[in-house]
Protein backbone atom coordinates (compact mmCIF):
# COMPACT_ATOMS: atom_id res chain seq x y z
CA UNK A 1 0.00 0.00 0.00
CA UNK A 2 2.54 2.53 1.09
CA UNK A 3 5.65 2.88 -0.90
CA UNK A 4 8.03 4.79 1.25
CA UNK A 5 11.48 5.27 -0.11
CA UNK A 6 14.36 4.84 2.31
CA UNK A 7 15.30 8.52 2.48
CA UNK A 8 11.79 9.66 3.39
CA UNK A 9 11.85 7.32 6.37
CA UNK A 10 14.97 8.94 7.74
CA UNK A 11 13.70 12.50 7.17
CA UNK A 12 10.40 11.81 8.93
CA UNK A 13 11.21 11.20 12.59
CA UNK A 14 8.48 10.69 15.18
CA UNK A 15 9.59 13.83 16.97
CA UNK A 16 10.29 16.85 14.84
CA UNK A 17 13.10 18.62 16.69
CA UNK A 18 13.25 21.70 14.45
CA UNK A 19 9.53 22.37 14.68
CA UNK A 20 9.38 21.65 18.42
CA UNK A 21 12.17 24.14 19.02
CA UNK A 22 10.50 26.75 16.85
CA UNK A 23 7.21 26.22 18.69
CA UNK A 24 8.96 26.71 22.04
CA UNK A 25 10.53 29.94 20.78
CA UNK A 26 7.18 31.18 19.50
CA UNK A 27 5.53 30.29 22.82
CA UNK A 28 8.15 32.37 24.56
CA UNK A 29 7.56 35.49 22.50
CA UNK A 30 3.79 35.30 22.05
CA UNK A 31 2.97 34.32 25.62
CA UNK A 32 -0.72 33.77 26.31
CA UNK A 33 -1.68 35.08 22.87
CA UNK A 34 -0.94 31.59 21.62
CA UNK A 35 -3.90 29.33 22.32
CA UNK A 36 -3.12 26.06 20.63
CA UNK A 37 -0.64 24.43 18.31
CA UNK A 38 -0.20 21.32 16.24
CA UNK A 39 2.88 19.64 14.82
CA UNK A 40 2.85 17.02 12.13
CA UNK A 41 6.39 15.61 12.33
CA UNK A 42 8.37 16.17 9.17
CA UNK A 43 5.54 18.10 7.62
CA UNK A 44 4.20 21.29 9.10
CA UNK A 45 3.45 23.50 12.09
CA UNK A 46 0.10 25.08 12.92
CA UNK A 47 -0.56 27.65 15.64
CA UNK A 48 -3.71 29.43 16.73
CA UNK A 49 -3.62 32.88 18.31
CA UNK A 50 -6.18 34.95 20.17
CA UNK A 51 -8.43 37.16 18.06
CA UNK A 52 -7.64 40.35 19.99
CA UNK A 53 -3.91 39.87 19.50
CA UNK A 54 -4.00 38.75 15.86
CA UNK A 55 -2.12 41.73 14.47
CA UNK A 56 0.45 41.97 17.24
CA UNK A 57 1.10 38.22 17.06
CA UNK A 58 1.79 38.29 13.35
CA UNK A 59 3.93 41.40 13.85
CA UNK A 60 5.98 39.52 16.46
CA UNK A 61 6.30 36.48 14.21
CA UNK A 62 7.66 38.73 11.48
CA UNK A 63 9.96 40.85 13.63
CA UNK A 64 11.20 38.37 16.23
CA UNK A 65 11.20 35.13 14.25
CA UNK A 66 11.74 36.74 10.81
CA UNK A 67 8.80 35.13 9.07
CA UNK A 68 9.13 37.82 6.44
CA UNK A 69 7.54 36.16 3.43
CA UNK A 70 3.79 36.49 3.02
CA UNK A 71 2.34 33.37 1.42
CA UNK A 72 -1.39 33.87 1.49
CA UNK A 73 -4.35 34.77 3.70
CA UNK A 74 -7.70 33.07 3.53
CA UNK A 75 -10.46 31.64 5.68
CA UNK A 76 -12.22 28.37 6.38
CA UNK A 77 -15.87 27.86 7.18
CA UNK A 78 -15.93 24.79 9.41
CA UNK A 79 -19.68 24.29 9.28
CA UNK A 80 -20.55 21.25 7.17
CA UNK A 81 -22.55 22.27 4.14
CA UNK A 82 -26.32 21.84 4.60
CA UNK A 83 -26.45 20.89 0.92
CA UNK A 84 -23.91 18.11 1.26
CA UNK A 85 -22.02 17.66 -1.96
CA UNK A 86 -24.92 18.91 -4.03
CA UNK A 87 -25.89 15.42 -5.07
CA UNK A 88 -29.29 15.12 -3.38
CA UNK A 89 -32.24 13.81 -5.32
CA UNK A 90 -34.82 16.64 -5.26
CA UNK A 91 -37.67 14.12 -5.38
CA UNK A 92 -36.54 12.43 -2.16
CA UNK A 93 -36.95 13.99 1.32
CA UNK A 94 -33.84 15.88 2.42
CA UNK A 95 -31.32 13.51 4.07
CA UNK A 96 -30.24 13.88 7.69
CA UNK A 97 -26.81 15.43 7.97
CA UNK A 98 -24.41 15.77 10.85
CA UNK A 99 -24.15 19.53 11.24
CA UNK A 100 -21.76 19.66 14.22
CA UNK A 101 -18.92 22.07 13.67
CA UNK A 102 -15.53 20.43 14.11
CA UNK A 103 -12.36 22.47 13.77
CA UNK A 104 -9.13 21.31 12.22
CA UNK A 105 -5.55 21.33 13.46
CA UNK A 106 -4.82 23.64 16.39
CA UNK A 107 -8.51 23.68 17.30
CA UNK A 108 -11.01 26.49 17.16
CA UNK A 109 -14.08 27.82 18.98
CA UNK A 110 -15.89 29.54 16.15
CA UNK A 111 -17.52 28.59 12.88
CA UNK A 112 -15.08 30.51 10.75
CA UNK A 113 -11.33 30.96 11.01
CA UNK A 114 -8.89 33.17 9.17
CA UNK A 115 -5.50 31.68 8.47
CA UNK A 116 -2.26 32.80 6.88
CA UNK A 117 0.85 31.13 5.64
CA UNK A 118 4.11 32.89 6.42
CA UNK A 119 7.61 31.71 5.66
CA UNK A 120 11.10 32.66 6.78
CA UNK A 121 12.81 33.60 3.53
CA UNK A 122 16.28 32.57 4.75
CA UNK A 123 15.63 29.22 6.41
CA UNK A 124 12.50 28.51 4.29
CA UNK A 125 10.69 27.39 7.43
CA UNK A 126 6.97 28.02 7.05
CA UNK A 127 3.99 27.89 9.37
CA UNK A 128 0.24 28.34 9.28
CA UNK A 129 -1.30 30.78 11.75
CA UNK A 130 -5.00 30.55 12.47
CA UNK A 131 -7.33 32.89 14.28
CA UNK A 132 -10.97 32.53 15.32
CA UNK A 133 -13.51 35.07 14.10
CA UNK A 134 -16.68 35.70 16.11
CA UNK A 135 -19.84 34.15 14.68
CA UNK A 136 -22.08 37.18 15.21
CA UNK A 137 -19.92 39.85 13.61
CA UNK A 138 -16.98 38.16 11.93
CA UNK A 139 -14.08 40.57 12.00
CA UNK A 140 -10.34 40.57 12.68
CA UNK A 141 -7.65 43.19 12.51
CA UNK A 142 -6.15 43.86 9.12
CA UNK A 143 -2.55 42.91 8.41
CA UNK A 144 -1.88 45.42 5.64
CA UNK A 145 0.47 47.44 7.79
CA UNK A 146 2.59 44.32 8.40
CA UNK A 147 2.41 42.69 4.99
CA UNK A 148 1.38 44.98 2.14
CA UNK A 149 0.52 41.89 0.13
CA UNK A 150 -2.33 41.09 2.52
CA UNK A 151 -4.36 43.84 0.86
CA UNK A 152 -5.82 41.81 -2.00
CA UNK A 153 -6.06 38.63 0.06
CA UNK A 154 -8.19 40.41 2.66
CA UNK A 155 -10.39 41.89 -0.04
CA UNK A 156 -10.90 38.42 -1.48
CA UNK A 157 -11.62 36.89 1.93
CA UNK A 158 -14.06 39.69 2.74
CA UNK A 159 -15.88 39.08 -0.51
CA UNK A 160 -15.97 35.30 -0.25
CA UNK A 161 -16.60 34.87 3.51
CA UNK A 162 -18.02 38.20 4.66
CA UNK A 163 -15.27 38.65 7.21
CA UNK A 164 -14.51 42.25 8.07
CA UNK A 165 -10.91 43.41 8.34
CA UNK A 166 -10.61 46.32 10.74
CA UNK A 167 -8.10 48.83 9.44
CA UNK A 168 -8.55 47.91 5.78
CA UNK A 169 -10.46 50.77 4.20
CA UNK A 170 -10.78 49.46 0.67
CA UNK A 171 -12.69 46.18 0.95
CA UNK A 172 -14.27 46.40 -2.50
CA UNK A 173 -15.31 43.27 -4.33
CA UNK A 174 -12.62 41.80 -6.53
CA UNK A 175 -14.57 39.29 -8.56
CA UNK A 176 -18.30 39.59 -8.05
CA UNK A 177 -20.72 42.32 -9.13
CA UNK A 178 -21.38 45.07 -6.59
CA UNK A 179 -24.99 44.08 -6.00
CA UNK A 180 -24.16 40.41 -5.42
CA UNK A 181 -25.80 39.09 -2.27
CA UNK A 182 -24.17 36.52 -0.04
CA UNK A 183 -20.68 35.21 0.45
CA UNK A 184 -19.99 32.35 -1.96
CA UNK A 185 -17.41 30.38 -0.02
CA UNK A 186 -19.53 30.14 3.13
CA UNK A 187 -20.84 26.62 3.41
CA UNK A 188 -24.47 27.72 3.65
CA UNK A 189 -24.22 29.45 0.29
CA UNK A 190 -25.70 26.99 -2.22
CA UNK A 191 -23.88 26.22 -5.42
CA UNK A 192 -26.59 27.42 -7.76
CA UNK A 193 -25.59 25.26 -10.69
CA UNK A 194 -26.38 22.21 -8.55
CA UNK A 195 -29.65 23.70 -7.30
CA UNK A 196 -31.07 24.59 -10.72
CA UNK A 197 -30.31 21.24 -12.31
CA UNK A 198 -29.86 18.13 -10.16
CA UNK A 199 -26.58 16.33 -10.36
CA UNK A 200 -26.90 13.77 -13.19
CA UNK A 201 -24.99 11.24 -11.12
CA UNK A 202 -28.01 10.62 -8.88
CA UNK A 203 -29.72 8.67 -11.67
CA UNK A 204 -28.34 5.17 -11.79
CA UNK A 205 -29.11 4.30 -15.35
CA UNK A 206 -30.19 7.07 -17.61
CA UNK A 207 -32.44 5.99 -20.51
CA UNK A 208 -30.41 6.39 -23.65
CA UNK A 209 -31.89 8.61 -26.32
CA UNK A 210 -33.30 6.44 -29.10
CA UNK A 211 -33.13 3.33 -26.94
CA UNK A 212 -36.29 2.00 -28.55
CA UNK A 213 -35.98 0.52 -32.00
CA UNK A 214 -38.91 2.39 -33.65
CA UNK A 215 -37.71 5.77 -32.32
CA UNK A 216 -34.23 5.08 -33.60
CA UNK A 217 -35.62 4.29 -37.01
CA UNK A 218 -37.71 7.47 -36.96
CA UNK A 219 -34.66 9.54 -36.07
CA UNK A 220 -32.65 7.95 -38.83
CA UNK A 221 -35.31 8.76 -41.39
CA UNK A 222 -35.08 12.41 -40.30
CA UNK A 223 -31.47 12.40 -41.26
CA UNK A 224 -30.41 12.20 -37.62
CA UNK A 225 -30.62 15.95 -37.00
CA UNK A 226 -33.66 15.83 -34.74
Amino acid sequence: MKQLSSNSETTTPAVDVVREQMLEAIKGSLGDALIDSHIKPGDDLWIRVRTDSWRTSVQKLRDVHSFDYFGFLSAIDWMPSPYGRGEDDPTEPAPERDMTIRSGYAGGDTRMQVFIRIVNSTTHFGLTVKVDVADSSPSVESLITIFAGANWHERETHEMFGIDFVGHNDLRNMYLPVDFEGHPLRKDFPLLARMVKPWPGIVDVEPLPGGDEPELAAQDSNGGDA
Binding site: M1, K2, Q3, L4, S5, S8, T11, D43, D44, W46, D68, Y69, F70, G71, F72, S74, I76, D77, P80, S81, R85, G86, E87, G104, Y105, F115, R117, S121, H124, G126, T128, F147, A148, G149, N151, W152, H153, M160, R172, N173, M174, Y175, L176, P177, V178, D179, P184, L185, F189, L191, R194
Partner: protein, 390 residues
Protein backbone atom coordinates in the same frame (compact mmCIF):
# COMPACT_ATOMS: atom_id res chain seq x y z
CA UNK B 1 -28.22 52.31 -19.81
CA UNK B 2 -26.85 50.04 -17.18
CA UNK B 3 -26.33 51.06 -13.63
CA UNK B 4 -22.81 52.00 -12.71
CA UNK B 5 -21.21 49.47 -10.41
CA UNK B 6 -19.14 50.43 -7.43
CA UNK B 7 -15.95 49.79 -9.28
CA UNK B 8 -17.02 51.87 -12.24
CA UNK B 9 -18.17 54.65 -9.97
CA UNK B 10 -14.82 54.66 -8.22
CA UNK B 11 -12.91 54.80 -11.44
CA UNK B 12 -15.22 57.56 -12.60
CA UNK B 13 -14.50 59.57 -9.48
CA UNK B 14 -10.81 58.87 -9.94
CA UNK B 15 -10.96 60.11 -13.51
CA UNK B 16 -12.77 63.27 -12.44
CA UNK B 17 -10.17 63.86 -9.78
CA UNK B 18 -7.38 63.32 -12.25
CA UNK B 19 -9.00 65.60 -14.78
CA UNK B 20 -9.42 68.32 -12.20
CA UNK B 21 -5.81 68.01 -11.17
CA UNK B 22 -3.72 70.55 -13.01
CA UNK B 23 0.00 70.26 -13.35
CA UNK B 24 0.95 73.85 -12.62
CA UNK B 25 4.46 73.50 -13.86
CA UNK B 26 3.66 72.08 -17.28
CA UNK B 27 0.06 73.27 -17.38
CA UNK B 28 -1.14 69.81 -18.37
CA UNK B 29 -4.42 68.29 -17.33
CA UNK B 30 -4.74 64.83 -15.88
CA UNK B 31 -6.66 62.06 -17.57
CA UNK B 32 -7.70 58.48 -16.99
CA UNK B 33 -6.37 55.78 -19.24
CA UNK B 34 -8.16 52.50 -19.40
CA UNK B 35 -6.11 49.54 -20.60
CA UNK B 36 -8.00 46.39 -21.33
CA UNK B 37 -9.97 44.27 -20.42
CA UNK B 38 -8.89 43.05 -23.82
CA UNK B 39 -5.34 43.99 -24.56
CA UNK B 40 -2.46 41.87 -25.81
CA UNK B 41 -0.43 42.78 -22.73
CA UNK B 42 -2.96 41.25 -20.37
CA UNK B 43 -2.80 37.50 -21.23
CA UNK B 44 -6.53 37.23 -20.86
CA UNK B 45 -8.83 39.91 -19.64
CA UNK B 46 -7.25 42.16 -17.06
CA UNK B 47 -8.24 45.79 -16.95
CA UNK B 48 -5.85 48.44 -15.76
CA UNK B 49 -7.19 51.82 -14.76
CA UNK B 50 -4.43 54.40 -14.75
CA UNK B 51 -4.71 58.05 -13.78
CA UNK B 52 -2.19 60.01 -15.72
CA UNK B 53 -0.53 63.32 -15.30
CA UNK B 54 0.96 64.02 -18.69
CA UNK B 55 2.88 60.86 -19.50
CA UNK B 56 3.25 59.81 -15.91
CA UNK B 57 1.04 57.47 -13.93
CA UNK B 58 -0.28 59.03 -10.73
CA UNK B 59 -2.32 56.05 -9.62
CA UNK B 60 -3.06 52.76 -11.24
CA UNK B 61 -5.01 49.72 -10.28
CA UNK B 62 -5.77 46.47 -12.02
CA UNK B 63 -9.40 45.38 -11.96
CA UNK B 64 -9.61 41.63 -12.13
CA UNK B 65 -12.55 39.28 -11.94
CA UNK B 66 -13.33 39.02 -15.63
CA UNK B 67 -12.38 35.37 -15.52
CA UNK B 68 -13.40 34.28 -12.04
CA UNK B 69 -14.61 30.69 -12.28
CA UNK B 70 -15.08 29.89 -8.60
CA UNK B 71 -12.78 26.88 -8.49
CA UNK B 72 -12.47 26.92 -4.71
CA UNK B 73 -16.24 26.48 -4.42
CA UNK B 74 -16.36 23.89 -7.18
CA UNK B 75 -13.74 21.69 -5.50
CA UNK B 76 -16.18 21.21 -2.63
CA UNK B 77 -18.60 19.30 -4.86
CA UNK B 78 -15.96 17.29 -6.71
CA UNK B 79 -14.19 14.10 -5.72
CA UNK B 80 -10.43 14.22 -5.27
CA UNK B 81 -9.57 12.76 -8.70
CA UNK B 82 -12.01 15.13 -10.37
CA UNK B 83 -10.32 18.22 -8.97
CA UNK B 84 -7.33 17.84 -11.29
CA UNK B 85 -9.61 18.63 -14.23
CA UNK B 86 -10.35 21.99 -12.65
CA UNK B 87 -6.86 22.92 -11.55
CA UNK B 88 -5.55 22.18 -15.03
CA UNK B 89 -7.28 25.30 -16.18
CA UNK B 90 -5.85 27.72 -13.63
CA UNK B 91 -2.61 28.47 -15.44
CA UNK B 92 -3.50 27.10 -18.83
CA UNK B 93 0.00 27.39 -20.26
CA UNK B 94 1.58 25.14 -17.67
CA UNK B 95 -1.33 22.85 -16.88
CA UNK B 96 0.53 19.76 -15.80
CA UNK B 97 2.46 21.76 -13.24
CA UNK B 98 -0.84 22.82 -11.65
CA UNK B 99 -1.92 19.23 -11.07
CA UNK B 100 1.23 18.17 -9.26
CA UNK B 101 0.94 20.12 -5.97
CA UNK B 102 -2.70 19.14 -5.55
CA UNK B 103 -1.96 15.48 -6.15
CA UNK B 104 1.01 15.68 -3.78
CA UNK B 105 -1.20 17.22 -1.09
CA UNK B 106 -3.75 14.43 -1.48
CA UNK B 107 -0.99 11.83 -1.41
CA UNK B 108 0.47 13.41 1.72
CA UNK B 109 -2.88 13.12 3.48
CA UNK B 110 -3.29 9.52 2.36
CA UNK B 111 0.28 8.55 3.18
CA UNK B 112 0.80 7.25 -0.33
CA UNK B 113 3.87 7.89 -2.40
CA UNK B 114 4.12 7.45 -6.15
CA UNK B 115 6.61 4.88 -7.48
CA UNK B 116 10.04 6.23 -8.39
CA UNK B 117 9.43 5.92 -12.12
CA UNK B 118 6.26 7.97 -11.82
CA UNK B 119 8.14 10.60 -9.82
CA UNK B 120 10.73 10.88 -12.57
CA UNK B 121 8.11 11.21 -15.30
CA UNK B 122 6.19 13.73 -13.22
CA UNK B 123 9.26 15.87 -12.81
CA UNK B 124 10.05 15.68 -16.53
CA UNK B 125 6.52 16.63 -17.55
CA UNK B 126 6.55 19.38 -14.94
CA UNK B 127 9.67 20.86 -16.49
CA UNK B 128 8.28 20.43 -20.00
CA UNK B 129 5.22 22.46 -19.06
CA UNK B 130 7.54 25.10 -17.64
CA UNK B 131 9.42 25.22 -20.93
CA UNK B 132 6.18 25.45 -22.93
CA UNK B 133 4.94 28.21 -20.65
CA UNK B 134 8.07 30.31 -20.40
CA UNK B 135 9.04 30.00 -24.06
CA UNK B 136 5.74 31.64 -24.92
CA UNK B 137 6.58 34.38 -22.44
CA UNK B 138 9.93 34.96 -24.12
CA UNK B 139 8.28 35.34 -27.51
CA UNK B 140 5.41 37.41 -26.25
CA UNK B 141 7.78 39.73 -24.46
CA UNK B 142 9.18 40.80 -27.81
CA UNK B 143 5.74 41.57 -29.22
CA UNK B 144 4.89 43.76 -26.28
CA UNK B 145 8.06 45.73 -26.69
CA UNK B 146 7.64 46.08 -30.44
CA UNK B 147 9.69 43.16 -31.79
CA UNK B 148 7.67 40.76 -33.91
CA UNK B 149 10.17 38.02 -34.77
CA UNK B 150 10.63 36.35 -31.35
CA UNK B 151 7.00 35.35 -31.14
CA UNK B 152 7.24 33.31 -34.34
CA UNK B 153 10.28 31.53 -33.03
CA UNK B 154 8.52 30.93 -29.73
CA UNK B 155 5.38 29.51 -31.29
CA UNK B 156 7.42 27.28 -33.59
CA UNK B 157 9.58 25.80 -30.86
CA UNK B 158 6.85 25.62 -28.25
CA UNK B 159 4.94 23.44 -30.67
CA UNK B 160 7.62 20.73 -30.34
CA UNK B 161 7.17 20.71 -26.58
CA UNK B 162 3.39 20.64 -26.85
CA UNK B 163 3.68 17.71 -29.23
CA UNK B 164 5.77 15.89 -26.66
CA UNK B 165 3.24 16.59 -23.93
CA UNK B 166 0.47 15.46 -26.25
CA UNK B 167 2.16 12.22 -27.21
CA UNK B 168 2.78 11.35 -23.57
CA UNK B 169 -0.49 12.49 -22.04
CA UNK B 170 -3.00 12.83 -24.86
CA UNK B 171 -3.69 16.49 -24.18
CA UNK B 172 -1.84 19.49 -25.54
CA UNK B 173 -3.12 22.03 -23.04
CA UNK B 174 -4.98 20.15 -20.34
CA UNK B 175 -3.25 16.80 -19.85
CA UNK B 176 -5.14 15.68 -16.71
CA UNK B 177 -2.50 12.98 -16.52
CA UNK B 178 -1.53 13.00 -12.87
CA UNK B 179 -3.28 10.55 -10.57
CA UNK B 180 -3.24 10.06 -6.83
CA UNK B 181 -0.54 7.43 -6.45
CA UNK B 182 1.15 7.87 -9.81
CA UNK B 183 0.36 8.58 -13.41
CA UNK B 184 -2.36 7.54 -15.81
CA UNK B 185 0.02 5.87 -18.20
CA UNK B 186 3.59 5.07 -18.97
CA UNK B 187 5.60 6.92 -21.59
CA UNK B 188 5.09 5.92 -25.23
CA UNK B 189 7.89 4.16 -27.11
CA UNK B 190 10.54 6.43 -28.59
CA UNK B 191 9.47 9.37 -26.46
CA UNK B 192 12.78 9.69 -24.64
CA UNK B 193 14.88 10.06 -27.79
CA UNK B 194 12.42 12.50 -29.25
CA UNK B 195 12.50 14.58 -26.08
CA UNK B 196 16.29 14.74 -26.16
CA UNK B 197 16.17 16.09 -29.71
CA UNK B 198 13.56 18.68 -28.75
CA UNK B 199 15.59 19.83 -25.75
CA UNK B 200 18.47 20.52 -28.10
CA UNK B 201 16.16 22.63 -30.25
CA UNK B 202 14.91 24.49 -27.22
CA UNK B 203 18.42 25.35 -26.06
CA UNK B 204 18.99 26.65 -29.54
CA UNK B 205 15.84 28.71 -29.20
CA UNK B 206 17.11 30.19 -25.94
CA UNK B 207 20.36 31.20 -27.63
CA UNK B 208 18.45 32.80 -30.48
CA UNK B 209 16.21 34.75 -28.12
CA UNK B 210 19.21 35.87 -26.13
CA UNK B 211 20.86 37.13 -29.31
CA UNK B 212 17.78 38.69 -30.78
CA UNK B 213 16.20 40.21 -27.74
CA UNK B 214 18.40 40.39 -24.70
CA UNK B 215 21.36 41.76 -26.59
CA UNK B 216 19.20 44.30 -28.34
CA UNK B 217 19.88 47.89 -27.36
CA UNK B 218 16.24 48.99 -27.59
CA UNK B 219 15.15 46.06 -25.46
CA UNK B 220 17.75 46.87 -22.85
CA UNK B 221 16.91 50.55 -22.69
CA UNK B 222 13.23 49.73 -22.33
CA UNK B 223 13.68 47.21 -19.55
CA UNK B 224 16.79 48.16 -17.56
CA UNK B 225 15.92 50.11 -14.46
CA UNK B 226 12.19 49.93 -15.20
CA UNK B 227 9.88 48.66 -12.49
CA UNK B 228 12.46 48.00 -9.81
CA UNK B 229 11.20 45.85 -6.92
CA UNK B 230 13.48 45.85 -3.86
CA UNK B 231 13.99 42.62 -1.96
CA UNK B 232 11.92 43.48 1.12
CA UNK B 233 8.97 44.72 -0.95
CA UNK B 234 9.03 41.54 -3.00
CA UNK B 235 8.87 39.47 0.20
CA UNK B 236 6.07 41.54 1.74
CA UNK B 237 3.90 41.16 -1.30
CA UNK B 238 4.64 37.46 -1.49
CA UNK B 239 6.08 37.56 -4.99
CA UNK B 240 7.40 34.25 -6.13
CA UNK B 241 9.26 32.52 -8.90
CA UNK B 242 11.40 34.56 -11.24
CA UNK B 243 9.96 37.82 -9.89
CA UNK B 244 11.37 37.04 -6.46
CA UNK B 245 14.72 35.72 -7.68
CA UNK B 246 15.14 38.80 -9.86
CA UNK B 247 15.08 40.83 -6.64
CA UNK B 248 18.03 38.90 -5.31
CA UNK B 249 16.24 36.32 -3.15
CA UNK B 250 17.89 32.95 -3.60
CA UNK B 251 14.86 30.76 -3.15
CA UNK B 252 13.60 28.02 -5.40
CA UNK B 253 11.01 25.61 -4.06
CA UNK B 254 12.36 22.87 -6.29
CA UNK B 255 15.65 22.97 -4.41
CA UNK B 256 14.63 24.26 -0.97
CA UNK B 257 12.01 21.78 0.14
CA UNK B 258 11.75 18.03 0.26
CA UNK B 259 9.04 16.70 -1.97
CA UNK B 260 8.67 13.28 -3.58
CA UNK B 261 9.91 14.74 -6.85
CA UNK B 262 13.22 14.26 -8.62
CA UNK B 263 14.70 17.73 -9.01
CA UNK B 264 17.46 16.94 -6.54
CA UNK B 265 18.63 14.09 -8.77
CA UNK B 266 19.74 16.53 -11.46
CA UNK B 267 22.55 19.05 -11.44
CA UNK B 268 21.21 22.52 -12.15
CA UNK B 269 21.54 26.07 -10.95
CA UNK B 270 19.13 28.54 -9.38
CA UNK B 271 19.74 31.91 -11.01
CA UNK B 272 19.28 35.16 -9.17
CA UNK B 273 19.76 38.74 -10.24
CA UNK B 274 20.52 41.69 -7.96
CA UNK B 275 18.78 44.41 -9.98
CA UNK B 276 15.08 43.66 -9.45
CA UNK B 277 14.09 45.45 -12.66
CA UNK B 278 12.13 44.26 -15.69
CA UNK B 279 15.28 43.14 -17.44
CA UNK B 280 16.28 40.97 -14.49
CA UNK B 281 12.89 39.26 -14.40
CA UNK B 282 13.01 38.45 -18.12
CA UNK B 283 16.63 37.35 -17.95
CA UNK B 284 15.94 34.98 -15.05
CA UNK B 285 13.14 33.33 -17.03
CA UNK B 286 15.44 32.81 -19.99
CA UNK B 287 18.05 31.16 -17.78
CA UNK B 288 15.39 29.03 -16.12
CA UNK B 289 14.26 27.68 -19.45
CA UNK B 290 17.84 26.61 -20.14
CA UNK B 291 18.10 24.99 -16.73
CA UNK B 292 14.83 23.18 -17.31
CA UNK B 293 16.12 21.63 -20.52
CA UNK B 294 19.17 20.48 -18.56
CA UNK B 295 17.00 18.94 -15.85
CA UNK B 296 14.92 17.11 -18.43
CA UNK B 297 18.01 15.86 -20.24
CA UNK B 298 19.59 14.50 -17.08
CA UNK B 299 16.44 12.87 -15.76
CA UNK B 300 15.70 11.21 -19.10
CA UNK B 301 18.92 9.28 -18.78
CA UNK B 302 18.14 7.89 -15.36
CA UNK B 303 14.45 6.94 -15.42
CA UNK B 304 14.26 3.60 -13.60
CA UNK B 305 11.97 0.86 -14.79
CA UNK B 306 8.98 -0.20 -12.77
CA UNK B 307 5.32 0.60 -12.33
CA UNK B 308 3.95 4.12 -12.72
CA UNK B 309 1.08 3.64 -10.31
CA UNK B 310 1.10 2.73 -6.63
CA UNK B 311 -1.64 0.52 -5.27
CA UNK B 312 -4.49 2.81 -4.32
CA UNK B 313 -8.12 1.86 -3.80
CA UNK B 314 -10.56 2.24 -6.69
CA UNK B 315 -12.69 4.65 -4.70
CA UNK B 316 -10.38 7.20 -3.14
CA UNK B 317 -11.27 8.42 0.33
CA UNK B 318 -8.74 10.80 1.80
CA UNK B 319 -8.29 10.60 5.60
CA UNK B 320 -9.14 13.58 7.76
CA UNK B 321 -6.46 16.22 7.99
CA UNK B 322 -4.96 19.36 6.55
CA UNK B 323 -2.03 19.63 4.17
CA UNK B 324 -0.19 22.41 2.44
CA UNK B 325 1.94 21.63 -0.61
CA UNK B 326 3.40 24.20 -2.96
CA UNK B 327 5.74 23.83 -5.89
CA UNK B 328 7.79 26.13 -8.05
CA UNK B 329 5.49 26.48 -11.04
CA UNK B 330 6.31 28.38 -14.23
CA UNK B 331 4.66 31.50 -12.81
CA UNK B 332 5.91 31.12 -9.25
CA UNK B 333 4.76 29.43 -6.07
CA UNK B 334 1.59 27.48 -6.67
CA UNK B 335 0.15 25.81 -3.62
CA UNK B 336 -2.93 24.10 -2.31
CA UNK B 337 -4.14 24.11 1.27
CA UNK B 338 -6.30 21.00 1.29
CA UNK B 339 -8.67 20.22 4.14
CA UNK B 340 -10.20 16.75 4.09
CA UNK B 341 -12.93 15.28 6.29
CA UNK B 342 -12.41 11.68 5.31
CA UNK B 343 -14.85 12.13 2.47
CA UNK B 344 -14.71 11.42 -1.25
CA UNK B 345 -14.02 15.06 -1.94
CA UNK B 346 -12.14 17.86 -0.22
CA UNK B 347 -13.83 19.91 2.50
CA UNK B 348 -12.01 23.08 1.51
CA UNK B 349 -9.23 23.84 -0.93
CA UNK B 350 -7.44 27.15 -0.80
CA UNK B 351 -5.66 27.71 -4.09
CA UNK B 352 -2.64 29.92 -3.65
CA UNK B 353 -1.77 30.97 -7.16
CA UNK B 354 1.39 32.80 -8.08
CA UNK B 355 -0.08 35.48 -10.33
CA UNK B 356 -2.51 36.74 -7.68
CA UNK B 357 0.37 37.77 -5.44
CA UNK B 358 2.58 38.80 -8.34
CA UNK B 359 0.03 41.18 -9.78
CA UNK B 360 -1.09 42.61 -6.44
CA UNK B 361 2.13 44.61 -6.41
CA UNK B 362 1.14 46.62 -9.52
CA UNK B 363 -0.59 49.53 -7.71
CA UNK B 364 2.66 50.05 -5.83
CA UNK B 365 4.89 49.42 -8.82
CA UNK B 366 3.08 51.46 -11.46
CA UNK B 367 3.00 54.66 -9.43
CA UNK B 368 5.15 57.26 -11.14
CA UNK B 369 6.11 55.27 -14.23
CA UNK B 370 5.58 56.42 -17.79
CA UNK B 371 2.81 55.05 -19.98
CA UNK B 372 4.90 52.83 -22.28
CA UNK B 373 6.52 51.29 -19.20
CA UNK B 374 3.16 50.02 -17.97
CA UNK B 375 3.25 47.42 -20.71
CA UNK B 376 6.89 46.56 -20.02
CA UNK B 377 6.25 46.08 -16.33
CA UNK B 378 3.12 44.00 -16.83
CA UNK B 379 4.90 41.87 -19.38
CA UNK B 380 7.90 41.32 -17.15
CA UNK B 381 5.79 40.42 -14.10
CA UNK B 382 4.26 37.72 -16.30
CA UNK B 383 0.84 36.63 -15.21
CA UNK B 384 -1.88 34.43 -16.62
CA UNK B 385 -5.36 35.71 -16.01
CA UNK B 386 -6.73 32.33 -15.02
CA UNK B 387 -4.02 32.22 -12.39
CA UNK B 388 -5.17 35.53 -10.88
CA UNK B 389 -8.92 34.97 -10.85
CA UNK B 390 -9.05 31.19 -10.45
Amino acid sequence: MTMLGDRQQLSYIASQAADARLNLELETEGMTLNIGPQHPATHGTLRIIARLDGEQVVWAEPACGYMHRGYEKLTEVRTFPQVTTLVNRIDWLGSFANEVPFILAAEKLMGVEAPTRAQYIRTILFELSRIANVSLFLGDLGVQLGAITPVFLAFRDREYVLNLIESATGGRFHPNFDRIGGLKDDLPAGWIDETRAVMKKLRNFCDQIEDLLFGNEIFQSRTRGIGVIPRDVALQYGLSGANLRASGVDWDLRRDQTLPMMWNKADWKVWTHPDGDSFARCWIRLQETRESTKIVDQLLGSIPSGPVMAKVPKIIKVPEGEAWVSTENPLGEMGYYVVSRGDLGPFRVKIRSASFNNISITPWLLRGVYVPDIVTILASLYFILGDIDR
